[in-house]
């Protein structure tokens, strides 16, 4: 018992836990705002979902079922108690609980997010290292131009361009969907298609799932990745001019070792927060990419809910996105803590 107590105490003193709790609190505030907006704004949700011709008594029954006839604070109270039971209320489109719907669709989005985070890392770091090594060289200029292109093409623009070039013109990759029709038999274990296909031992299906993953992943992360490469480059150039590098060179430490061991690590500190923010906000861009690539994920579900004015589903999706945002930010805080010794000092001073 005492052990648990001390553990809890130390956990609450932990910066990450405190920050995550604070974010959860603001998420609660957000839920109040968005819930109220969803109820207060004009327009009858029942009529929006079923069309204006629905008989009045049926509409009334739906209103009772969804607690829409009660005062606002009671509605929020009922909804909040449901949330603590991990239920987000009934959807007006699918007639199921929103949390069940989201649980069905979320793994596809998660797969996309993980893939795009991995893609970001394997693109941003090598490009940054390449261009930081010889500033002003051809490679550096190419990456600079790429970075500008990356910034100014929005995510949905990338999705359209990639579909056009690689799916329609070259025919190398499938444009939409998650897996081809012939592999629909894959049983769902984790919900992540690439892992499920591996579990079932169906290698062609795995390759197929991977090929479907490429266009949405690249569309989601290419713009941010080149920008992060630029930040890494700037940071490398700044660090390589520092005195400690000169000192190492004068001691005859091999250039390669200096570069990859002693320069790259402090330089990556500048990139990690940006990358974290970008990965977190790709949850938002997934809304567009999933819509364009017909990716059956949570964001596409949210999109459909928004177009149909499905109140509970909209609130639910926004909150789950907020939760994902918090989780990613916390992970990034931890990563920064591991990489950057100064972050540890700062934390000690704070507490």
């Amino acid at each position: 018992m005492r052990k648990v107590k001390t553990f809890l105490k130390s956990a609450f003193r932990n910066v990450f836990v405190r920050r995550a709790l604070r974010s959860l609190l603001s998420l609660l505030g957000l839920s109040l705002v968005i819930f109220t907006l969803a109820r207060v704004l004009p327009g009858d949700p029942i009529k929006a979902a079923f069309g204006p011709d629905i008989p009045e008594e049926v509409a009334q029954r739906y209103r009772e079922m969804l607690n829409l006839d009660k005062p606002l604070y009671l509605q929020y109270f009922y909804w909040l108690t449901d949330v603590f039971k991990l239920r987000l209320g009934r959807s007006l489109v699918t007639f199921r609980d929103v949390s069940a719907d989201i649980a069905d669709f979320f793994p596809a989005t998660l797969e996309l997010l993980i893939a795009s985070a991995v893609f970001r890392i394997i693109v941003a770091f090598p490009l940054g290292v390449l261009s930081g090594r010889k500033p002003g060289a051809t490679m550096d200029n190419v990456i600079r131009v790429l970075a500008y292109i990356g910034i100014c093409i929005p995510t949905f623009g990338w999705a359209i361009i990639l579909q056009l070039v690689f799916a329609y013109w070259l025919g190398w990759l499938p444009a939409i969907g998650r897996i081809s029709e012939e592999f629909r038999v894959i049983s769902r274990v984790t919900g992540l298609m690439t892992i499920d296909t591996l579990i079932s031992g169906n290698f062609p299906a795995f390759v197929d799932a991977l090929r479907h993953l490429i266009i949405p992943t690249v569309a989601l992360s290419i713009g941010g990745a080149v920008q992060e490469a630029r930040i890494l480059r700037a940071s490398i150039i700044e660090n390589i001019g520092r005195d400690y590098v000169l000192n190492m060179r004068s001691h005859g430490i091999p250039e390669r070792l200096i570069y990859f061991k002693y320069v790259l690590k402090p330089s990556s500190i500048a990139v990690i927060p940006v990358m974290g923010l970008d990965i977190a906000s790709s949850v938002a861009n997934a809304f567009l990419v999933e819509a364009i690539c017909n990716w059956p994920g949570m964001s596409r579900y949210g999109m459909i809910a928004m177009l149909r004015k499905d109140l509970n589903a909209i609130v639910g999706v926004v909150l789950v996105v907020g939760l994902v945002y918090i989780v990613i930010n916390t992970i990034m805080d931890v990563v920064l803590y591991v990489v950057d010794p100064r972050a540890r000092f700062r934390e000690r001073e704070e507490s």
């Binding site: 957000l30 929005p154 579909q163 809304f287 809910a305 004015k309 909209i314």
Partner: protein, 297 residues
Amino acid sequence: MRSMDYVTLARMERRVRIESLRRAWFRFSRNKPAVVGFFVLAAIVITALLAEYVTPYPSHAGLYINFKEKFQPPSFKHLFGTDMYGRDVFTRVIFGFRYALMMVGVVLGIVVPAGTILGLVAGYYKGTIIDHLIGGLSEIFVAVPPLVLALAICSLLEPNVINALLAITLMWWPWYTRMVYSMTSSLRNEPYVWEAKALGMRTYQILFKELLPNMLGPILTKATLDASWVIIIGASISFVGLGAQPPTPDLGTMLAEYCRYLPSYWWMTLGPLLGIIVLVLSFNLVGDGLRDVFAGE
């Protein structure tokens, strides 16, 4: 005698201000991409304002049908080709600039002053109830990616341009508040603020005459860079169908409309896409130039 001193002082102050502006422009003009961006942007603004007079087919902007000329590939007659109703895509893109620029103007025009004032007040009264109130409120809006919140708010309202503007404005101010807040809270203990207080200056004078001028550079830079984000988010909202509705020549709406004809009539999509890219690129170039100017100070 005394009053004359003040007059000379004011004159000198003005001269210094003009001089520093001139220097800033000089530094900006050394940055070639930024200058190019600036002129492209100026050209876009002018053509967008005069869209009725400079475009080849002004009537094609809204509802117009001429099936004889539908799906024309790009040519000298129609630079970006024509769409499924036979409308000139180039003309519509120019009119689309108008909506994009209006969006930038309205959103930033509201958000930058409002966010700045809230940040100043919260930062100046750091640790008091005002600070916690504003801080907590801004944290709520930052808890979710801006685009998601904007989409959600738009979906709850009627889908049109005004509501899209409203949604973007509503979720954007906290970013300025947070930036100004952190700058204010680091500047509020500077000696000159104490001196101003000791001289008996009013709080609003300290906020706007002593503190604000030190932050104008970063705020202006952020506003320019944010302009491109406003364009992208605005286009995203109308792209998914929650913003401007079809006959409106909004870049995002056009993209969504033309997207459906993708593999066969691809050039239609390229027009609005190119429009967004050029606009965003020029805002980014100018923003980078401004950042370099203020970083040099």
